[in-house]
């Protein structure tokens, strides 16, 4: 099948690649572009390890075609930190021990990043609902909820200031 030329914004820079129409966005990111932050867990749209931010929305990149990203904007975990400074969601996961093995973490972080823009002052219950597309087999979720709450507080403090 003929490859297609696509151009999209990735973590603030412009990328151009050739992909087969059947290539999934997660594979284009990891294999063609070498951005291995986003993980592949289930490959069946259940676990959320492959979550990326696509045109301002959280999506599971194992269930989006790379050709669909043409002209769009993608943000992955690699794009969260700025000039060596961790994003508040990253800091939250570190401070509150929001991870153990870390496999789910890139998806958790990029989902938490978008969730806190959708709901800057969430209750713990809101966090559990908002993060319900991301599975973690290690932490039992308690510390993930705390980590997102930590980030929410920090974001409100810095944005309110």
């Amino acid at each position: 099948m003929a490859k297609q030329h696509i151009v999209f914004s990735l973590n603030g820079g412009v990328v151009e690649i050739l992909v087969e129409p059947r290539t999934l966005l997660i594979h284009a990111l990891r294999e063609t572009l070498g951005q291995t932050g986003s993980h592949i867990g289930c490959e069946t749209s259940h676990c959320g390890a492959c979550t990326v931010d696509f045109n301002g929305k959280s999506v599971k990149s194992c269930t989006v075609l790379a050709v669909q990203a043409d002209g769009g904007e993608v943000l992955t975990v690699e794009g969260l930190a700025h000039n060596g400074a961790l994003h508040p969601v990253q800091e939250g996961f570190m401070q509150e021990h929001g991870l153990q093995c870390g496999f789910c973490t890139p998806g958790m972080l990029i989902r938490a990043y978008r969730f806190l823009q959708e709901n800057p002052s969430p209750t713990d219950e809101d966090i559990r609902m908002g993060m319900s597309g991301n599975l973690c087999r290690c932490t039992g979720y308690q510390n993930i909820v705390k980590a997102v709450q930590y980030a929410a507080n920090k974001l409100r403090a810095t944005q309110g200031a």
Binding site: T63, Q68, S132, G133
Partner: protein, 289 residues
Amino acid sequence: MIPGTFDYHAPATVDEAIRLLGELGDEAKLLAGGHSLLPMMKLRFASPKHLIDLNRIGALKGIREQSGMIHIGAMTTENELIASALLREKCPLLPEAAKWISDPQVRNCGTLGGDIAHGDPGNDHPAVMMAVDAVFVLQGPRGERLIVADRFFHGLYYTELAPDEILTEIRIPAVSKGTGYAYCKLKRKTGDFATAAAAVQLRLDGGVCKKINIALTNVAPTALKAGDAEMSLTGKVIDEALIEQAARKAMAVCDPAEDQRGNRDYKTHMAGEMTRRAIRQALARAKGN
């Protein structure tokens, strides 16, 4: 898991999409949110040679009101349904049910049109569409035709849609005063399809039930209308004894397939329980209006 090879088309208008469907024939499939189709393609349950992506057709999106009817573009996503103030006011059952579909990421992609057109009895919108008296707009090379939700679902993955037609719009009458609604869904965990679910919309006038729709999810090869149960409540002042009788009548039409969610008896029983709960909640809401 990667889908088999196919050519990708991204038309900008409905006419172009219909022309492509006509030219490419049986080899082509429409791609909406992709959250049923792409998983099936990864598993080789579907191997279309061409995908026609509807995501770049702006005309298929959006929610508006026109002479008492709510018009919803087929490509409107679950999260857009949930966020709509117009729907919350004029067709509240729809956003309520959409909240129960999978998780936030899936709801950002999955579309109302895709959920209906897929013809999967596990999908939630087919029963909801029956409960709200929805009308579907199907567009094809011979023009446009309208079909009511009750007549659209023929069997497992088998609907009224012809291979060269697109579901372009869903039209739903705005609710009137005294309307109550509920969607009660039993599922094992977030991201699971219903073990059984019931959609109810009813209208009270002076305490009497003037009209009631009851539809069931995932307890037969298609979503089901529980017609006898509806009839047993219409024209009555609904009480617990009548609710029990209606739940029994709803159970009588169930024909579920046994799977890891449970055997036939369990699913039928749960359909009855979801029906009871949905009628009670709809009744309480109608009285509160």
